[in-house]
Every structure is written in C-alpha cells, then in structure tokens.
Symmetry: C2
Subunit: 893 residues, 2 copies
C-alpha cells in the first residue's frame, strides 16, 4: 500500500485530481511541481493514514515508517542536505491538508529538523546567524505548543524577560546572541512543561509533528468547523512534509499570501499582502499588519513580475481564482501553496461572470461554480445612502479597515465571543470586535451580525471565516485601541463602550459610530422595485446575467410561496413563474377577520357556522383577487385551510375573556371550546383536509371565494389559472369527497356567472401514506405538490417544534448530515418524493408535480427535486433566484 507521494524537481508522484487522497494542498503542490512552478520539494502522507489512524485505535499503518524514511532520503539527495547536519541541514515544514480547506483549523509545524548541530549548519550555510537562532527559537515554541501542548504564554514570558533584560521593544530587535540565550530559555520552558528534554533528533520531531497534525483533525475546533461548513465524509487530513524555505533571512526575504483577484468584489487585480523578513504564520496570524502586494511591485519588481506571471499561469491552469502562498528566500521566489480562493458572494459571481467573458470557462461551468449562498449575497443590504451620508457629514466616521466580508451592518459592540453569544441570545444584534479572532471565537462570530478586528489582513482568520459565511466583516483596522478588560475601545479621542451602536460596511471597510439604516441591495431596488439607476448598477447587471444563463439551462419551473399580493409581486420580479403555495390561513389573522373566524369555531350548529363563514367569504375573495392580479398569466395554487382550529383561539384567560365579550358568550364557554380542541399531538391531529371532511362548509366557502375571485378578475381581463389544493391527504377517499364538493361548488358558480375558468383540483403529498398510494390518488387528483415539511416530520417521526432537544446531538454524532428541515433527506424523505412522482405518473403520465416545502428554496434540495422529475419547486420570494440557479445546475450536471 502506497501511503507517501513525493513531489519536487519539476515532477511529482501525485496529481492535481488526487485531492481525496493527498488533500487539497498536497494535490496542488504535486500539480504545481508538475507544471514547472517553483515549489520546495517534499512529500505528502496520504489521507488514508489519517483514516487508518482513527479506525485503528490511533495507530498508523506498519509500512508507513519505511516509506517516510525512503522519501526523506530522496529529499536529502535532491537538495544535498541532511537532517540534523552540521554543514547543510535539511529543515522541513509539516502541514495539514484535507480535501477541503479548513483555514487555521489544523496544526502546522515549521523549521522542523533544527537542533544544536543543525543550527550551526544553518549558520554556515546561510551565513545568517540571527536567522538561524530565530528559526530555532520559533521551532521550540511551535513544536512545544502544537505537539506537546505547552502553553504559548510560557514562551512569551521567557521572551518578555529577554526583551526586558536587553531593553528591546520588538522581537526583531533581538540579536543573534540574545536569540541564542532565548533558545536556551525556551528549552527550559519546554522541559518544565513537558517533563523531558526537548527532542533533538529530527526523526523524533517529525514523528511527533505528523501525529500532531493527524490529531488536530479531530480537535474540537476542527470538528466544529466541519459541522458549520458541512464538511463531511472526508477520510481525514493528509500531512505535507516539505523542505523549508525562509522568508526571515533579511530584507531580500519575505513571505506573503495573495488572491489572483480581489476576493471582496471579484475585480481582476492582483490582491494580496506580504511581510518582509517574516515567516508565513506572521501573515496569517494577523500580528503584524502586512503590506499590500502593489508595494512589492516597487520593492522587488523582478519578483513581482515572476509572481504575477505565476498568478496568470495558475488561473489558466485551474480556471478559477487562486489563493496562493509564497516565500521569497534571499531573492528567490518559492510557491508554497495554491488553492481555489475563498471569496464573498459578490466576488464569486463576479469572477464566474468575468471568467466567461475572458473565455476561460463557459456559461455552464460558471453556473456550476456559483453557490446559491453567493448569489444570495447580492441581495444583501447596504447602508441607506442618505443615512450614511448624514452620518459621515456628522463626522461619525471612526476609522477605516480592510473590507473583508459582504453587506453592511449596525449593532451593539461587544468585545468577546462569549458576550456576542450572550447578547445575541437576548435578541440583540451585535458587532463582535476583537484585536484578532481565533478558532475559539467561532461561535461568537457566528452569533454576531458582523465582525471587526484591529489587526490582521484579508487572509486573517476573521476575514476568511466571515467571507465563507457571507458575513459582514472589516479587519486590520489598526486605529482601534481595544481594552478587553474595560470592555471599550478608543479611536483617536473617541471611546466606544460595550453596548454602543456601531455600523460597519463590508464593501468599503468603513466604521461609523451610531446606527445607520441599511438599505436594500441594488438587485432588490432594480429588479424588484424597478429603480432604473439601480438596474444599471454592476451588481444588478451581474445578477441579471447569471439569472439569464440559469434560465437558459434550467428545466424545472420555479414558483413562489406567497400569501399576499405584495409577496406575489416581489416573487414575480425575482422570476417566479406562479404561486406554488398560497396559505389561506394567514389571511384569517389579519385585522377583524380573526373574529369571524373565532365565531365560526365557536359555532355549535351548521347554521351558526355558515353565518360566520359568510362574513369571511368577501374578505377571502378580495385577497384572492389581488393575488390573481399580481400573478396575471401564471398559475396560483391555493391551499385550503390547514392548521388545527385551536391555533385561532386565545389560550390565556384574558384573551378568552375578550373573546367572550366580543362574541357575546361566556368565558367559560370559550375556555370549554379551547379545552375541547386541545390535542396531545396537534401536528398529527384534526387539521388539513380532516377539517374540511368534518366541516365541509369551510371547504365550500373557500372554493366559493377562489372561484368568484377568479371570475371577477377574468372579467377584468386578467388571465387566471387557479389550482385548488387539498392539504394532508392520506387516503384517496378524502381527496375524492372534497374533490366532488369543490367541483360541485365551482361549477354552480361558473354556471351562474356564465363564465369559463380553467381550474384544477389537486393535493399536497405530505403524509407518507399519500406517497405510498400516489397511483390511486392520481386517478382523480390533477396535480401533486409535495409538502416536504410535514413529509419530513412524519417520515422521520420528528416534530419540527421539538427537534432542537436532540438535533445538535444528531449532527454531532453524524447521525444526520444536515438538518432535514433545511436540506431534503434524499435517502428517506426523498425516496417517498420519488415514489410519489413515479406512482402518480404511472396513473397519469403528465401529472404536474411540484414541491412547496421550505426545501424548495434550498440549493441542494432543488437539485434533487429537479432530478426527481418535478415540474416545479416553490419557495419564499427571496429564495427564487437560488432556486433558478439550482435548477440550472441540476440540468447541467
């Protein structure tokens, strides 16, 4: 079994398509090496070792040690260096690298191989004594921290002591001799904490480091990251052992990270930052604020040109925006990593669109590459322009940082992740403000509206994580002087305390005190509200372009769930091709209607009930008229009353007393009715079509309202296509009884009015049994709409209201991959959907099938539904663009 793959010298054992096996970093190092990009040689220990480790009681395969040894020899031979050599020592880095990038989540060890002999060899070889001792002390610190769990603070104390002793302000001011003294001090720190001497044997160091990287795969923070980012089903991490190159060898050395395009907005510009005389972690850790890559053009024009050429070569090779790491060692450029760059939604869409224009990819590839959440970010709010201008005019601008995450946000400042979680739980919007963030802060970052840091660059932890989530973020705002203890920050002469309002803008990086109204995105202004200026906005243009492409490929229809004419208008603007779900019950809550509804529920005779229903009829009819008008020319699916009647009644004494007074009865009678309607499991109770079976008069009233509204609007020239939908069908008989009633009611009205309306009567498929007998239901039903919310509840036996008690455990323990109410469970619920479609169409070949659960707006789910052959999905208005995109993706893949 081959576990180790060598790369270097313009060739490699691995390939770029071996991400699963070698991890993203390993595969790309092999790839870069193969296409002639300067990469320090090394080897990758495959992800299978990590997988083996966790399935074999934390042991590694027997043959691994031998393979590593062979590759070390190869590496030593290629470079003419030797581990621990007094003349020309080999130093290596040990880095993690899974198939999916998990930035900052796993461990790295640099400068491995250094010891008392090797440091002398390093000095001889480089003539740079200071750098050698600096590398040594860094290695002890890093190895102690990462591999042995020595707290960084202990090393910091020793450093502080030395700095005080020699009156140095900065680390970089320490001399070689002082660093040598620090190395001795660090060894003491190590011995004291670990209980044994610092290991000088490079092979022992390597063994520990490989273990540390593998162990970090299952560290809490890494697990949490994978959960939040839905990274699953990976074998584990690969381990990359690579010859060290040094960015800390003086002023002709340096290290940097860059994106081949601007990751905030997608602009085609070389976008990155670097530090002179530094090692890679200095940039990522955000301790020193690095220089923008444009400065490199002036400082090292040859290196810059070489780097820029590599940038273009990588984009051509990978056909995607890259996130690269490089090191310059005494004037020589080395590429340490390339991977597809994380980006904001805006940038993701922009890059995809530009790549098409540049001929690098075709429209289909662009569509495949755009994530629904990215597209969604184009709909994110920005600051209201007037409100922001006023705040700026009032000199409320506090500072400006780097624009790292999309959108704009206002909120209360908090200074710790814990506080962010606490405030957010109380329903407050918070801006998490930190000097820098670390993986420990992830839950607080998740809870916050936006993230603000005083240090770090565009590739700092805060920036990378926020961008991934599409969260508003500004980083590296060095003007902020944060005092964690006092829970305040000073900006110039201003002080911002915990709880104060601050507004930050992810696109510009501006930080402004006070609350600023946010305004809708240009897409909403332009596409939805028809603002002509907004329509010309590049974001809006881009959105329209992507939607045009999507509709070109898409086969599945996209409708919307809308209960009001207003929702219907928005959804149509965003591309909805009809209403897939109009919930009639919401109409009963508005204004005074609830009283007629309650009167109906309280009624004890059919006559009383009919009297109350008569009051509701004109109100419902008016609602439907508005909706038909808004959906002129498109079908409108209206679901008959669904929730149990007790949902319409007041459950507290005060409300019951009010109801009694208003409906001229006694509170005792109201309470008795509430009690009589109480259900142990309302989700499985007297609701849906079961109500219309018991009270056919409700069905009659609703049908009357729908058909009369359709007639009225048709008379005014509106093209109406009402589809009456019966909820919660479990047997063919239920459908048939109500189908007969609806058709009888409708035909009488049409006959009386002398009008012809094309209407359909169909059913929700949301009870498992309905899917099982779909062939029979389809004998009479004219369409199916899968209610995947209820179908998920009953297929799993999960109450949506109660699942929170065990869902976290279920996600933690990987029993569930996703919340099944967010993303369709393909294996189980999806099976019933497919069965329903197949059986339904076995009876009626052209049966129209749609989906109207929340899943209709979830990208993964839409792809599944499209492949399952549904005619359309229906989702909330603002999810319509994602559904259109996902529909295209399903058609392409």
């Amino acid at each position: 079994m081959k576990y180790v793959y060598y790369f270097g010298g313009g060739t490699a054992e691995g390939r770029g398509d071996m991400k699963e096996l070698l991890g993203g970093k390993g595969a790309n190092l092999a790839d870069m090496s193969s296409i002639g990009i300067p990469v320090p040689p090394g080897f990758t220990i495959s992800t299978e070792v990590c997988g083996y480790y966790y399935s074999h009681g934390n042991t590694k395969p027997a043959e691994l040690a031998q393979q590593i040894e062979e590759n070390i020899t190869k590496l030593e031979n290629e470079l003419g260096k030797k581990f621990g050599d007094k003349e020309n020592p080999l130093l290596v880095s040990v880095r993690s690298g899974a198939a999916v990038s998990m930035p900052g989540m796993m461990d790295t060890v640099l400068n491995l191989g250094i010891n008392d002999d090797a440091v002398q060899g390093l000095i001889k070889r480089t003539g740079n004594e200071r750098m050698a001792w600096d590398s040594y002390r860094r290695f002890i610190n890093m190895f102690g921290d990462v591999c042995m769990g020595v707290h960084h603070d202990h090393f910091e104390e020793a450093m502080t002591k030395i700095k005080a002793k020699y009156k140095r302000k900065l680390d970089t001011e320490l001399t070689a001799a002082e660093l040598k003294e620090l190395v001795a001090a660090y060894k003491q720190v190590y011995k004291k904490s670990v209980g044994s001497d610092f290991p000088t044997d490079a092979r022992v160091q390597l063994e520990h480091s490989i273990n540390a990287v593998i162990n970090s795969w299952n560290a809490d923070r890494a697990i949490a990251y994978r959960q939040i980012n839905k990274v699953q089903e990976l074998k584990g991490t690969a381990v990359n052992v690579q010859a060290m190159v040094f960015g800390n060898m003086g002023d002709t050395s340096g290290t940097g990270v860059a994106f081949t395009r601007n990751p905030s907005n997608g602009t085609n510009e070389f976008y990155g930052e670097y530090l002179i005389n530094a090692q890679g972690e200095d940039v990522v850790a955000g301790i020193r604020t690095p220089l923008p890559i444009s400065t490199l053009k002036k400082d090292m024009p040859v290196i810059y040109d070489q780097l820029n050429e590599i940038r273009l070569k990588l984009e051509r090779h990978y056909k995607d925006m890259q996130d690269i790491e490089f090191t310059i060692q005494e004037g020589t450029l080395f590429m340490l990593q390339t991977r597809n760059g994380k980006r904001t939604g805006l940038a993701a869409v922009q890059v995809a669109v530009d790549f098409v224009k540049e001929g690098l990819i075709d429209e289909k590839t662009a569509i495949k590459r755009i994530d629904g959440n990215h597209l969604n970010q184009l709909l994110f709010p920005i600051f209201d322009l007037k409100a922001k201008a006023a705040a700026v005019a009032a000199k409320k601008t506090l500072a400006k940082g780097l624009p790292a995450g999309p959108g704009a946000a206002s909120g209360h400042v908090v200074f710790s992740a814990e506080d962010a979680v606490k405030w957010a739980k109380k329903g407050k919007k918070v801006i998490l403000t930190r000097r820098e963030t670390s993986p420990e802060d992830v839950s607080g970052m998740w809870a916050a509206e936006a993230i603000l840091t005083s240090t770090g660059g565009m590739t700092s932890h805060a920036a990378v994580v926020a961008r991934g989530w599409g969260k508003c973020c500004v980083v590296g705002c060095s003007a902020l002087d944060i005092d964690y203890k006092k829970k305040l920050m000073k900006v110039g002469n201003k002080t911002v305390k915990e709880g104060d309002y601050v507004s930050i803008e992810g696109v510009t990086g501006e930080i402004i005190s006070g609350e600023i109204k946010t305004a809708e995105s240009p897409v909403i202004s332009g596409v939805v509200h028809g603002n002509k200026a907004a329509l010309k906005h590049p974001i809006c243009q881009m959105f329209i372009e992507v939607m045009k492409w999507s509709d070109k490929f898409r086969q599945v229809g996209v409708r919307t769930n809308a209960d009001t004419p207003n929702d219907a208008v928005i959804a149509r603007a965003l591309g909805a091709q009809g209403i897939g779900l109009c919930r009639t019950e919401h109409m009963f809550f508005a204004g005074d209607r609830i009283w007629a509804k309650r009167e109906m529920i309280l009624a004890e005779t059919l006559a009383e009930r009919e009297k109350a229903l008569k009051k509701l009829l004109p109100l419902q009819r008016k609602d439907f008229e508005g909706i038909f008008k808004a959906m002129d020319g498109f079908p409108v699916t209206i679901r008959l009353l669904d929730p149990p009647l007790h949902e319409f009644l007041p459950h507290d004494a005060k409300g019951q007393a009010e109801m009694a007074k208003r409906l001229k009865t006694t509170a005792a009678k109201v309470k008795a009715k509430v009690d009589s309607l109480h259900e142990m499991n309302p989700m499985l109770g007297h609701r849906g079509c079961r109500l219309s079976i018991t009270y056919p008069e409700i069905c009659t009233m609703q049908t009357t309202a729908i058909i009369e509204a359709a007639c009225n609007m048709a008379a005014k020239g509106v093209k109406v296509y009402p589809e009456i939908m019966i909820p919660l069908i479990g047997t063919k008989e239920e459908f048939d009884i109500l189908d007969v009633l609806i058709r009888k009611t409708a035909e009488e009205i049409l006959k009386k009015k002398g009008q012809k309306i094309e209407y359909k009567v169909g059913t929700m498929i949301e009870i498992p049994r309905a899917a099982l007998i779909a062939d029979k239901v389809a004998q009479t039903a004219e369409f199916f709409s899968f209610g995947t919310n209820d179908l998920t509840q009953m297929t799993f036996g999960y109450s949506r209201d109660d699942i929170a008690t065990f869902l976290p455990d279920y996600l933690n323990k990987k029993i569930l991959k996703d919340d099944p109410f967010a993303t369709i469970d393909k294996e189980g619920v999806g099976q019933l959907v497919k069965m329903g479609v197949e059986r339904g169409r076995s009876t009626k070949a052209d049966l129209k099938c749609g989906v109207c659960g929340e899943h209709g707006g979830d990208q993964e789910s839409v792809k599944f539904f499209a492949k399952a052959g549904l005619n359309y999905v229906s989702c909330s208005p603002f999810r319509v663009p994602i559904a259109r995109l996902a529909g295209a993706q399903a058609a392409i893949s």
Copy 2:
C-alpha cells in the same frame, strides 16, 4: 342486462353461489328451489339494481320494468293466479336480502296485491273470509308504514276504536265483518296521512314496495348496523318478490323460525319456535311468545318430520348450521328462507368441531369457519360458582329467560337505550332492560354489558344482535313487568328500579338481583391456571382441540407482549412461543423505582445520572430474571426505554412539591425540569433511541441489567435467549451507535463472568423512514420487529390520542374501512411492512421479522402479517389464541 331471476317449480335461474348478485336470501331461495325443497315461487331483483339506484340519482335501470312484468306473467302462469283477480288473486311478499344478512334492518311488505277485487277472489279461493280481510288490513297497515311513512300508531288508533266498538280484547277475536270495517277505517287513515287514496293497482303497490326496500338499504339504522358489523363493499340489497303463503289461515296454519342446531351452545338439536295462525313478522317482532319447535312434533307430527328432514338436508347441502323460516299453509309446509345461522362464539366453535366429527367438513374448513371473536368468547367470564350459589340460596333469583348471548354480567339496570349510553359514558356497567329491542336501540345495546328483554324468542332482534357481538343476553323473560315511565320493573312481588344491580347469565338465562362476582372461563381455569376439573370441561376440551388443529396448520410464530413474569406465565399457557415485546418503562413505575427514575431525570451531570441509574440496575435485573425464568427456552425481546422522560414526572404542583421534598431539591427546579421537557408533539419528540443517543448511560444500564440477568438465570440452568431491541430507529447510524454500545457492554459482562449467552441486537421498525431504508438497517440489525402502532401514527399522520375527534366521521364517510389502530391498514401501513421485510431480507436473507403492535392480536391483521412473510406476531397474552387461529387461517387460505 339481466336484472331479474326467476325461481320456482323445482328449478331456478339463480344459483346458491350468486350471493353478491341475488343477496343471501335470493341465492338460497334459488338454491332450495333447485334441490327440491318446497319454496313458494317468485323472482329476485338483483343487487345491481340497488347499486344502480344509488349511483344514478335514485333511478332504476330502464329495462327493469319490462323484466319485472315478464316475471310476474311467469309467476301468474305457474300458479294460475292473477294480480288483482276476483277469482284467484296472486298475492306476493316483497323482501330485502343483501349478500350479508342484516336481521331486522331492512323493510318487508307482505300480502301485496290485495285490493277490493282481490279480497273477494281470496275469499272465493280459500273460503276463509276472515283471513282475507285480516290480510287486507295487515297489508294497508304495512304498506302505509313501510312505503309511505304512515305512523303505525294511526292504524293502532283505528284498531282500538273498532275493538272498543265491538268489545273485543284481542285482534284475533275480530270477525270478518269487523275486519272489513277496519279495512275501510285503515283506508281513511292512509288517505289522511298520505293525502291520496290507497293504491288498489297491484303493480303500483309493487313499484312502491320495491322502492321502499331499496331505500331501506340506506336508512340510518341500516348504515349504523353495517358500520358496527363492518359490512362494507356490498352493492346493495336484492329485492325478493315471492308468492305469498299464509300462516294465518287457521289452526292448520302457522309460521316459524328455527336453527338446525342450538345457536347458544351448538348442541345438535332442532332448535326453534313457531306460532299457529300467524304470519312471519309475528314471530320476529317478539309480540307473542312462540312455542318451542318440540311442541310441533306433537301438534303436527307429519309436518315436523318433513321439516326435520329438510333441516338435515340443508345442513348436508350447506355444510353449516342453518337459520330457517317456514310457513305452514293449511297443512302444507313451505320454506321461506335458509341462511347460515348466527350463533354465540361457544356455538360457533362447537358446531365447527362437531361438523368435523360428523364428517361434514374437514379440520381446515372448521378452522376457516371459526371467527377469532367466537374463539375469544370461550374465554369469557362466567359467574363465580360460589357467589352464584350463595345468591340463589338467598333467594335472589328473580326469573329465568331464554339464554341468548354468551358469558355472564352484573350491572345497573336501565330501561332505555339513551340511558344505557348515558350511564356507560359515566363509566357505569349497565344491563339494558327492555320489553323488546328494535334497531333504534342498537347504540344502547352496544353500550350495555348485557341485554335483557321480557318478550321475544331466540331469534328476536335482541337475541340476534347480541349473539353477533358476543354479548351477554337473556330474552323472552315474561315474568318481568316493565314500566318505562317509572323506570322500574316488577317481578312477582319484587321491584327493581333504575340503577339497581342485576346479574344475568347468558348460558342459563337466569336473572338474579344484586351483584355477583363473575369468574373466569373454564379455559382460563384449566389451560392457564392448570385446574384439572376445568381442563375436563367441554368448553376447555373444545378450545384445546381447536388450538391443536390451528397449530397443525399454522406457520407464523406467536409470541406475547409481556412486561412481567406473571404476564409471561399466562401467555405461555395460552401458547405463546416467546416474548415479542417486553416494555422496560413499565418497570420504572412500580413502587419506589419511580423515585430513582426521577432522580435520574433531574440529574444535571453524567455522574449524578449514573448514580441514579445504579439504583435502578438491580431492580431491572431482577425483573428480567423473572421473565427469563418464565420464558425458559424461548426468546425474550426486550425493548430499551421508549417514552419521553416527561412521562415519568409529576405535572401538578402537589406532585412536584412532593418530588422536590423527596429528592431534596426545590419545587421550582422540578417545575423547571418539567417545563424544559415539555414538547409540542411528544409522539414525535425526544423518545425511543433518541434518549439513548443523548444519554448512552441509560442504554448501558439497561443492557447491563439484561445481560447480567441472563447470566444469572443461565447459571441456574434456565435457557435464555435475550433479544435486545432498540426502539424508534429512523437511520442506520442511530442503530449502529447503540449496537456498538450494547455489544461492548454485553461483551465486557460476559468476559468478566466467563459465560456465553446467545443474545441478539435488533430494532423496531416503526418510523416510516426505517422501513424505507430497511436494506441498510439490516446490514447490522439482527432482527426487525414492526411497531405497527407508531408506524400507523406516522404513516397516516394520526395521533392515537387525538384521532377520536375525526375517526367517527372517517368511518361514517367510508374514508377508513376500520380503525387503523385496531386492524392494520394493508394498503398503506401494510405496504411499509412488506417493504421493510423485503428490503431487510434483500440484505440478510434469513432476517427474523416480527410484529409487536396491537395489531398482532387482531385476526385480520395476523392473516396479513403471516402472508407478508413475518416470522412471528406478538400480542397481549389473552389474544394469543386468536393469533394462533388466525395464523392457521392464513396458512390454509
């Protein structure tokens, strides 16, 4: 299309196997006519006419009138009589007759064809003027009542007047002239009520009568009867038009009904009753108490012998006990009807067993013929012998009636069906006591423990209905003088008032005042409790015989649901081959255990929880030891904790205060825990395996208790086969996580004890998703047990606790054929069961599959499960015999 079928003259157009088309009565009349039994000729209008009528807006097929006319002509020619003829008039009866008998539920018209001319012809022909006018007045009354809705009371008034006028006490005392006057008076009554003259045209009379019979099919009482008796999917009723024969032509005439064997206990004796000089409805209506058939042997020995011969011929022909109707017209015997006789469970089993012994049928046929409910009646209580003897000694015997329904019962006397329903709703056991019962009383009869009447015979309405239900019933107890108004009855010099206790015995017909303890049936005493005398009791012998035959044919295994050693012992005695479901949660409620359980729930840390669990461990272990011992040699399936934790906590303030005190905490904390565990839909909540996923320590404790108990009992020589069952699995991952935990726990114990125990780990299939992914679950699960209760809840989306709000409507409207929680829904839930079995076995060919829902004890359901290939069904101990029988029936059919 042929709608009318002629019979008569030793031949017939119909056949005995045409019950669907001709109804039971029509098919049997044709059959009897064909085998040479004297039957008055006539014709049957098929059930298709009734079906057509209800599906075509209450109209009959166009070609029907012509076909009826042809058959009337045929009938007139055969008999040489003519409708409305002055010389020799044809009179006919018009009777209903569906494929399934619905005694007393539908309408009959007799003497049809009589008018002012025909009455003269009748007089000429018979020379019996009195009989002619009596027939005429009867016809006007019946036609008016049945076809035109004239209230019987109006005719009664006229009758009373005439009787007063001529000072007659009895109807039979009226002379021909007086009856002629009564006919004129009845015509006036008719005209006054209906608004038109009484129709004299026989064809008009026939038209109305046929319509009346067809309409009576959908009368409320008929619909109610079909619901209670689960008679469904019939096209409708046939209409039998048959030449009249007259039992009311004097003392050489008469009419009777009889059973070919005793319908109470199955004894092979001619069992029936007759009235001299009467028409059929006089017997059935229970107005005059008829003579036993043995009297006929003395009164009319020739007729008796002829009748007895027919009795034996019919039994040989139909190979079942028959219920016959006959009329003697002036010394000539006519058979009017034969059908399979209704009987008590005791009689049903006895007849089946005797028919096998007599060589009329084989064992398989006998098994097929025994209804589970019949068998169940053998388990019915009888009076405690000592208690009854004491009551008799204390002269508490009130009277003796005819023994019409099985068992024995004590309860409060009520005198109306409404009162029976009202008292029963309050939880009182009542004895419904009436002069006679009518179809209007059905709901009260259903609500009562037993039924007692002062008139009527073994074939009266009360007797037939009660016997069908297996309800205790005594009829024709003429010693009772019932006063409905005062709500009391006098028996000799004793008075029994509403609410007084009365005890009645269905086997002897005895009525005793006061409450008498009931005692168990000989089967329970003998088979279950090993009482040797009881074992020799004929009922017990019969039971053992039927069970022996059942086990001979049965292939599906029968286990029991038992939570205690006691239940296990009973079930084994009744034939259970192991435990299919042992619910561990019931064990937590007993005695002080609930406190340890509550301590566990209240625990906030793992350590606290484990401490509480440690207290529960020895208690559970002891329970399991007892169960293993009782099931020595048989498998015991133990389900891990299933209900949500809040079920174990007190929900009232008092209970919470007590719990706080006992567990040394505050009531507020207890309340907070209760609140935190509250669920909107507990049925879909945090329960089943979800508990063990969150609290693995519960699973560990229960596994420990099971395996340690198994070890302890095995050490004592008991053969133990524990099967650990995980409830509420919806994903393979849930099963796998707990499977690993259970096996690890078990193996550690076995290793420590150095014992070997064959144990299995399997799962319930009760979530629809589990059935859908059964192929995957079977990769690790060693057995499946279908929990059809929950599976029904989730497949239909019905909460078992809430279904009562709409189930009656659903049964009324035929949306559901049966309560799906009583009889498995084959179409939907059954589909999932089949799917689960097939998919499970596609992975593991020999996967053991069982059922442990309530359906495991339902005859229909067991047949389905056996055919679906399940290895066993499991049911409550007293349902085990039914399951054994049903298993045999499934194997035979």
